[in-house]
C-alpha cells in the first residue's frame, strides 16, 4: 500500500558545524532584516503567470471523468458519444473494464476540447457503466469485525507495538490516572490554485507548466509514467498558488493531460475544480487515540498507554508522533492504519504533528488539573533536556511574559455572563534542515548577475531568499540580481517540503555566489595590485579589505571580463544549515456558552528557525501558520456521508476556512539563531495552535473538548453534559 508522499525528514545535525570558506556574514546588510518580496510587483499587477494562467496557441481544455461512487467496479467505458461532441480533439479511458475504483473522485476517463465548456459537455457524454460495491465510509465501520474485507490485505494494518520502560510500575507510581479518547478530523489542503498543468509536446519532448512543489521530482514522475527519458521533459513552475504538501508529482491528472495532448496533437490545459481538489488530491489523515496516562502526586508523568488509529483513506497510512515532546518514562503505543473508501492522504504542513500535538497537549492539561499545577509549570517539569533543537524551557517563560500568562484563572471562567474567557498553551517541534541543492551563477561583463536554481517558490518567498543571499554575498543591491527559479532546466534542487527549502537553497546560493565572486576577484586583483584574498565586495564595489578607496565599482570590475562572463556552478555544503526547531504558543479565546461559538482573540507564538534570512517573510509565515492552526481547530472538516461515503462539503462554502475576521491578534516572536545556520519555518508555526486553542476553551468553559474541530455543536454538547452531571 502506498504511503503518503512527502519529502523525507532530513537527518542533519542540530547545530551548524561551521564552514569557514562560505560562512554566513557576521554583519549582514540584508540577511535577518525586513526585505520586500521581489515578486510583489508581478503579483499585484497580474503579470505573474500561474500554471492556471498559461495560454498556448491552439490550446485545448481537458476534463476528467471521475467515479461518483466511493467503491465500484468498472463494467464498461464508452467514449463514442464524447468523441463526436463539438470541439472534442481527444478522449481516453484511464482505467480498463473490471478495474476496481476505491474512492469517490478516482479517475476513469478524460477528454480534451476546444473550450472549457465543450470539455465539460463531452465529459458528461462519456458513458461509464459501474457495478456499485458497498464502501467503507468510516473508521468505526472499517474496524468493526463484521465489515466486508474491502482492501486486499485487510481494512486495518496493525503496526508493531512500541514499548519503553515498565508500564505497570509507571501506573503504580501514579497518584492520578486519566483515561480518555481524543481525535482529530480529516483536513484537506485547499491551495487556492488547484492542482493541474498545461502540457505541450514538440515531437517526443514534453513541456509541462505544472502547479508543483517540485519541478525536478515532477519531471522524474512524468518520465517514469510516460516511459520517456527525463531529458525529454521540461517542467516549469514560475508561480504557484500554494501546495501545503499536496503537490510533489504530476499525479494522475498530469499524466492524463500529457496523454490527451499527445492524442490531440495540441497543448492541453487541465486544472482541477474545487470539488476534484477536495476528493482526489490529498488530505491530512484523521487521528484517534484511546489513552490511559498517569501522573505522580508531585506532578511527574509516570505512564502512558495508548491505542491509536486513524485513516488516510484508500490504502494510505495515518501515522503521527505520540506522545508528543513530553517525557513519559514508561509508555506503550499500539497504532493501526485504517483504510476506508476515500481519497488518499498526502503530506500536509507538518505531517502528523498537529495531530500528535493536539492529543498530547490536551492530555497534559487534564493531568495538570488533577495535580492542581499551572499548565506551564506542569510542562516545565516534564520537558526533555534542553538542546539546540529543544528550547522549550527557555520559550515557555518568554511566551508567558509576552502573553501575560500570570493572569490566567483556574479551569472554568467564574465571571458571570455567557461569554467566557480562557488561556491555553502548547509546544511544537519540527525538523527542517537542508540537503543537496545546486545553483549556477553568471556574472556578466556589463555587471549583470544571474543566479539560477531549480527550486520553486510555492508562495513562501524562495525567489526573494535567493536574491537576498546573492546580493549579500556580492555586495550589491537586491534588485541587481536576476533570480531565475522554477524550471527543471536549472540546476537540481529538491522538492519544497518538510520546511527544507530555505536550508537547502540558501547554502547552495551562498556557495555559488562566493565561488563566482572569487573568480571575479582573481580577474580584478592583478589590476588593483591587491591579493584576491584581501578583496571584499560591498556597497557595489570591489575593494581592498582595509582601504575602500583602493578598488573599483562593480561595473568597472565586470568590464575587465571582456567578452567572457563568469559562469560557475555550486552546491549545498554542510555547515551553513542545521535541523530541528522548537516553539511555544499561547492562545486566548472567548467562548459564547449560549451559542457555542469560540473566537480566538489573541495568540503569542515563540518560534525558532535557525538563522533568519528575511525577517519580513519569516514573521508573515508565522501569522499564516497560526491561522492554518486556527482553521484546523475550529472550522475545517472533510465530512463523508456515513451511508454513501460521499463527501458532503466538497466546496469552499461548507468546507470552511477562516476569513479576515477570524484572525486573532498575533504576536510572532522569532528567535534568531545565527550560530545554527538556516533551518526552515514553513511548517512549525502551524503545529501547536489547535492544541493551545483547545486548552484555552477548556480553561474558559470548564468543559474539555477532545475532538477537532471544536465546532459550536461540540461546545454546547459538552456544556450540556456537564450540566447533566456527566464526566469531565
Amino acid at each position: 500500500m502506498a504511503e503518503a508522499r512527502q519529502v523525507p525528514e532530513v537527518a542533519a545535525p542540530a547545530v551548524a558545524q561551521g564552514n569557514a570558506a562560505y560562512a554566513w556574514p557576521t554583519h549582514p546588510t540584508y540577511m535577518g532584516t525586513d526585505v520586500q518580496r521581489i515578486d510583489g510587483p508581478d503579483k499585484v499587477t497580474g503579470r505573474a503567470k500561474y500554471s492556471y494562467d498559461i495560454q498556448r496557441p491552439n490550446m485545448l481544455y481537458g476534463r476528467i471523468v471521475r467515479s461518483p461512487h466511493p467503491r465500484a467496479r468498472v463494467v464498461a467505458i464508452d467514449l463514442t458519444m464524447a468523441r463526436q461532441a463539438p470541439g472534442v480533439k481527444a478522449a481516453l479511458a484511464v482505467v480498463e473494464p473490471n478495474a476496481i475504483l476505491m474512492f469517490q473522485g478516482e479517475e476513469v476517463a478524460a477528454v480534451a476540447a476546444a473550450t472549457e465548456e465543450q470539455a465539460r459537455d463531452a465529459a458528461r457524454l462519456v458513458k461509464v457503466q459501474y457495478e456499485v460495491l458497498p464502501p467503507l465510509t468510516s473508521v468505526e465501520q472499517a474496524m468493526s469485525p463484521d465489515a466486508p474485507k474491502v482492501f486486499p490485505d485487510g481494512n486495518v494494518r496493525e503496526g508493531a507495538a512500541e514499548e519503553t520502560g515498565d508500564l505497570a510500575a509507571g501506573f503504580k507510581a501514579a497518584a492520578h490516572v486519566v483515561e480518555q479518547t481524543y481525535n482529530t478530523q480529516v483536513q484537506t489542503h485547499v491551495s487556492l490554485e488547484t492542482h493541474g498543468c498545461v502540457c505541450e509536446w514538440d515531437g517526443d519532448k514534453l513541456t509541462a507548466w505544472v502547479s508543483t512543489q517540485a519541478v525536478h521530482g515532477t519531471r522524474e514522475g512524468f518520465a517514469q509514467a510516460l516511459k520517456i527519458p527525463q531529458a525529454n521533459v521540461r517542467v516549469i513552475t514560475q508561480y504557484m498558488g500554494g501546495g501545503f504538501g499536496s503537490k510533489f508529482a504530476p499525479d494522475a491528472q498530469g499524466i492524463i493531460c500529457a496523454n490527451l495532448a499527445k492524442q490531440a496533437g495540441a497543448p492541453v490545459h487541465l486544472m482541477l475544480d474545487r470539488k476534484e481538489e477536495h476528493l482526489a488530491t490529498g488530505n491530512r489523515p484523521s487521528a484517534y487515540a484511546k489513552i490511559r496516562a498517569g501522573v505522580s502526586a508531585d506532578g511527574m508523568l509516570t505512564a502512558f498507554d495508548a491505542q491509536t488509529w486513524g485513516t488516510g483513506g484508500a490504502g494510505v497510512g495515518a501515522g503521527f508522533p505520540l506522545p508528543y515532546i513530553y517525557q513519559f518514562p514508561n509508555r506503550r503505543r499500539q497504532h493501526k492504519d485504517v483504510y476506508i473508501n476515500a481519497g488518499g492522504a498526502r503530506a500536509m504542513r507538518a505531517p502528523g504533528h498537529p495531530q500528535g500535538c493536539f492529543i498530547t497537549e490536551v492530555l497534559m492539561d487534564e493531568l495538570a488539573d488533577l495535580v492542581k499545577l499551572d499548565p506551564v509549570d506542569f510542562r516545565m517539569k516534564n520537558l526533555p533536556p534542553d538542546a539546540p533543537d529543544a528550547r522549550w524551557r527557555a520559550y515557555f517563560p518568554i511566551a508567558a511574559k509576552l502573553f501575560g500568562w500570570d493572569k490566567r484563572h483556574p479551569t472554568g471562567d467564574a465571571t458571570p455572563g455567557p461569554i467566557k474567557h480562557g488561556f491555553g498553551c502548547s509546544a511544537n517541534r519540527w525538523g527542517g534542515g537542508g540537503r543537496g541543492s545546486h545553483a549556477h551563477c553568471e556574472i556578466l561583463p556589463d555587471g549583470g548577475v544571474i543566479m539560477r536554481c531549480g527550486t520553486q517558490d510555492i508562495g513562501t518567498g524562495t525567489r526573494t531568499l535567493v536574491s537576498i543571499v546573492t546580493a549579500e554575498t556580492l555586495g550589491l543591491p537586491i534588485d541587481a540580481v536576476n533570480t531565475e527559479i522554477g524550471d527543471s532546466l536549472y540546476p537540481f534542487s529538491g522538492g519544497s517540503g518538510g520546511s527544507t527549502t530555505a536550508a537547502s537553497v540558501t547554502p547552495a546560493i551562498r556557495v555559488t555566489a562566493v565561488k563566482a565572486l572569487d573568480a571575479l576577484k582573481a580577474k580584478v586583483a592583478p589590476k588593483l595590485g591587491v591579493p584576491p584574498a584581501d578583496l571584499v565586495a560591498s556597497d557595489g564595489r570591489l575593494h581592498a579589505r582595509n582601504d575602500r578607496a583602493k578598488g573599483m565599482t562593480w561595473k568597472e570590475a565586470c568590464r575587465t571580463l571582456g567578452a567572457e562572463p563568469i559562469a560557475v556552478d555550486g552546491e549545498w555544503q554542510p555547515g551553513l544549515s542545521a535541523s530541528g526547531t522548537s516553539g511555544v504558543q499561547m492562545a486566548e479565546v472567548e467562548v459564547d456558552t449560549e451559542t457555542g461559538v469560540s473566537k480566538v482573540t489573541r495568540l503569542v507564538c515563540v518560534q525558532d528557525c535557525g538563522l533568519i534570512v528575511d525577517k519580513l517573510t519569516a514573521e508573515s509565515q508565522v501569522i499564516g501558520g497560526v491561522l492554518f492552526g486556527v482553521n484546523y481547530a475550529l472550522f475545517e472538516d472533510r465530512i463523508l456521508d456515513r451511508n454513501t461515503g460521499q463527501m458532503v462539503n466538497p466546496n469552499m462554502e461548507w468546507y470552511l476556512i477562516g476569513g479576515p475576521s477570524d484572525v486573532p491578534e498575533i504576536t510572532a516572536h522569532l528567535v534568531d539563531q545565527p550560530e545554527r545556520g538556516v533551518i526552515g519555518l514553513g511548517e512549525p508555526p502551524a503545529v501547536a495552535t489547535a492544541a493551545a486553542i483547545a486548552n484555552a476553551i477548556a480553561n474558559a468553559t470548564g468543559v474539555r473538548l477532545r475532538s477537532l474541530p471544536m465546532t459550536p455543536d461540540k461546545v454546547l454538547a459538552a456544556l450540556e453534559q456537564q450540566r447533566a452531571g456527566g464526566t469531565r
Partner: protein
C-alpha cells in the same frame, strides 16, 4: 450571443455562449488571466472584478451577458501609465501576499470597499474583505495594506481612480 464589455477602458466585442461566465470571458476571450478562479462557487473571491467602478462582483458566478454594456475593472487595469495604483503599491509594500493567487481579487474588493468607505476602521476592512479568502498570509498584512492604501488615497493629490 454578441456582447460588448468594456474591460479596463477597452471595449471587447465577442460572440459568447449564454452560459459563458464573466471570469472565463476575461481570461479566455480577453486574455486577461490575472482574474483567477479558486472555488467555482463564489466563496473564495479570487475572481473579483469591479463593475462600473462601484461594485465588487464575483466573476465566477456572473454570466458574461450580464455584463454586456458595462465596464469591468480587473487587476490588469489598476496601474495607470506604468505606476502602480496605491492599492497595488500597498499590497507590495506591506507584504500583503504570499503565493499571490488571491491577490487580484483582494485588491479589486479593496477598490470597491474604499470607494464606499474611504476611511475604514480595521474591523470594517476585515468585514469588507470577508468574501475573499487567503490560505497563506493570515490576512494581517492584507489589512495593513488596505489601511496604507486608504491613507494614500485620501491624500488630496492621490490618484483619481
Amino acid at each position: 450571443m454578441k456582447v460588448t464589455i468594456t474591460v479596463n477602458g477597452t471595449p471587447y466585442t465577442r460572440d459568447v455562449e449564454p452560459r459563458t461566465l464573466l471570469a472565463y470571458f476575461l481570461r479566455e476571450h480577453c486574455g486577461l488571466t490575472g482574474t483567477h478562479v479558486g472555488c467555482d462557487t463564489s466563496s473564495c473571491g479570487c475572481c473579483v472584478a469591479v463593475l462600473d467602478g462601484q461594485t465588487a462582483v464575483k466573476t465566477c458566478t456572473m454570466f458574461a451577458v450580464q455584463a454586456d454594456g458595462h465596464e469591468i475593472l480587473t487587476v490588469e487595469g489598476l496601474a495607470a501609465g506604468g505606476a502602480l495604483h496605491p492599492i497595488q503599491q500597498a499590497f507590495s509594500d506591506q507584504h500583503g501576499l504570499h503565493c499571490g493567487y488571491c491577490t487580484p481579487g483582494m485588491m479589486l474588493t479593496t477598490v470597491a470597499l474604499l470607494k464606499h468607505t474611504p476611511a475604514p476602521t480595521e474591523a470594517q476592512i476585515r468585514e469588507g474583505l470577508a468574501g475573499n479568502l487567503c490560505r497563506c498570509t493570515g490576512y494581517n498584512n492584507i489589512v495593513k495594506a488596505v489601511q496604507q492604501a486608504a491613507d494614500v488615497l485620501r491624500q488630496p493629490a492621490a490618484a483619481t481612480k
